[in-house]
Symmetry: C2
Subunit: 328 residues, 2 copies
Amino acid sequence: MRQAGRSLPEYRALRGDGDILDAIRHPEMAAEATLQPVRRYGVDAAILFSDIMVPVAAVGFGVTVRPGVGPVTDTPFREATDLDRLRPLEPPVDMPWVAEAVRLVVAELAGRAGREVPLIAFAGGPFTLASYLIEGQPSRDHPLTKRLMYSEPELWRELLQRLANLVIASLCDQVQAGAGALQVFDSWIGALSPRDYEAYVLPASRYIFEATAHLGVPRIHFGVGTGELLGLMAAAGADVIGVDWRVPLNIAAERVSGHGVTALQGNLDPVVCLAPWGTVEREARLVLAEATADLGHVFSLGHGVLPQTDPGILARLVELVHEETARV
Amino acid sequence: MRQAGRSLPEYRALRGDGDILDAIRHPEMAAEATLQPVRRYGVDAAILFSDIMVPVAAVGFGVTVRPGVGPVTDTPFREATDLDRLRPLEPPVDMPWVAEAVRLVVAELAGRAGREVPLIAFAGGPFTLASYLIEGQPSRDHPLTKRLMYSEPELWRELLQRLANLVIASLCDQVQAGAGALQVFDSWIGALSPRDYEAYVLPASRYIFEATAHLGVPRIHFGVGTGELLGLMAAAGADVIGVDWRVPLNIAAERVSGHGVTALQGNLDPVVCLAPWGTVEREARLVLAEATADLGHVFSLGHGVLPQTDPGILARLVELVHEETARV
């Protein structure tokens, strides 16, 4: 459950309200924020406390994550000369605190009693990163991003290639430091038609999954509103496809078939977790029932946990899923 | 092309920057804003200059449309007593300016040379209206709306029933005043899973289309991000389903089949219209090529026109579609 920490009082006490890019420069703090939901909820995997802008910021592009707003940049990406602001990432020099946080988390997880809990490495996807750099702020319609994509396809390809290289370097760094899986969050690709995703984004996505295959860990690919893109996302080469709540898992299973995907991840609507427990239980059971026998299923929410979620509800949800899946 | 006026300097001069709910109380102004895109672009249908909150405001619920923000209410819908704020609509008493604007538009359209241009009546859909009333403002996640939907299904049903009655009264009024088609904009239903749409919204949608069948005009049903809902929207009984740019028209055609749908409407990405003409032309031709022979096709954008769109591009787009479809 990504962003599960946001619902926890102990997280809010730890975190304060500054820029997350500053906060995660403190490995002990990042490790603690990563571990809090594991302790509180007993989930089966941890995901590194991070932000998709970390590698971009680490090479000095000039970006901040404004609390309550999201990633913003005073000098957005506009033209070919801006490519120089995206030099190759050297994780040990540019962001040593990330690997350090990973090592701290993995050490603590290894020392826990009970079943093994892997840490999932965290990175953004190329379209979503490009949108923040080009728009200079979060955007519903991504107008400047798509304009550049359509009007300057060569520059667009070069931008996505550079972003993909940052993503790959960051993921390899996290896995080499001990992460046992990785996830690429290309959250906003659902703004694209399948035709545009295939032409303008799929090559960079495929490159990321090809370049991380040698790591030998399960690789998860996720976006929101991706109903029509699931087959293309599967073709990009991930092992697991994350599905939001809009697509029933049995339908998602059909759409990803034939590409070597081994499991689906999802897909309870995070908003359901604001309802009384009876509703959460009913909806969670429906999600479990929609998972098919052909594919593995990693139960999770269809998007990040909403901050106003009651931690007690999430704890009961994890318990329910453990009970139900132990029975299988 | 809905909201095509927003791109026009003559619209901005006419409209100023107040609440649209005040502006449309002036029938001459609303008629003029409706006709401007027809004159400038030569489109084949006009859509009434209106707002989905008109009937709700007309019965005194207490809502304003804040420029640059959207519909807001100081006293959101919270409990059963709030139903009293949604009494039945009497169009001739509560919003006589709407029918008057329709009559002015229809008279002017009838006097034009060339092919007949029908006016499309305008109304919101029940989920989208409910969300604005319950959230009190535009919302990405619709948390309070879904919480009420899940937790108080009886109250939810009653709310949607009342909203559906407002929609029906408004649409009947507009068609009786001369509109030659109608469109229900349930813009945000794409936030729902198919299971939830079917359980919580479809009954009200079906009720609206049943209650407007006797009007004898084509009825269009539209929402954004509705890939998984197209079959259910078709089952609700519309003649035409509006499709956003995320679903290729040939796939949409499969999903709506078997429910008596006669045409699809869509689905060029409005953001494409910010690109140079070469891109717009290429993408528009691809949309035309994806339309199937089995179903009629009403070419339009997949969502409203973006305000920063160049009117010259839209004029060329209309010309292109006219040339291409004349050839068929």
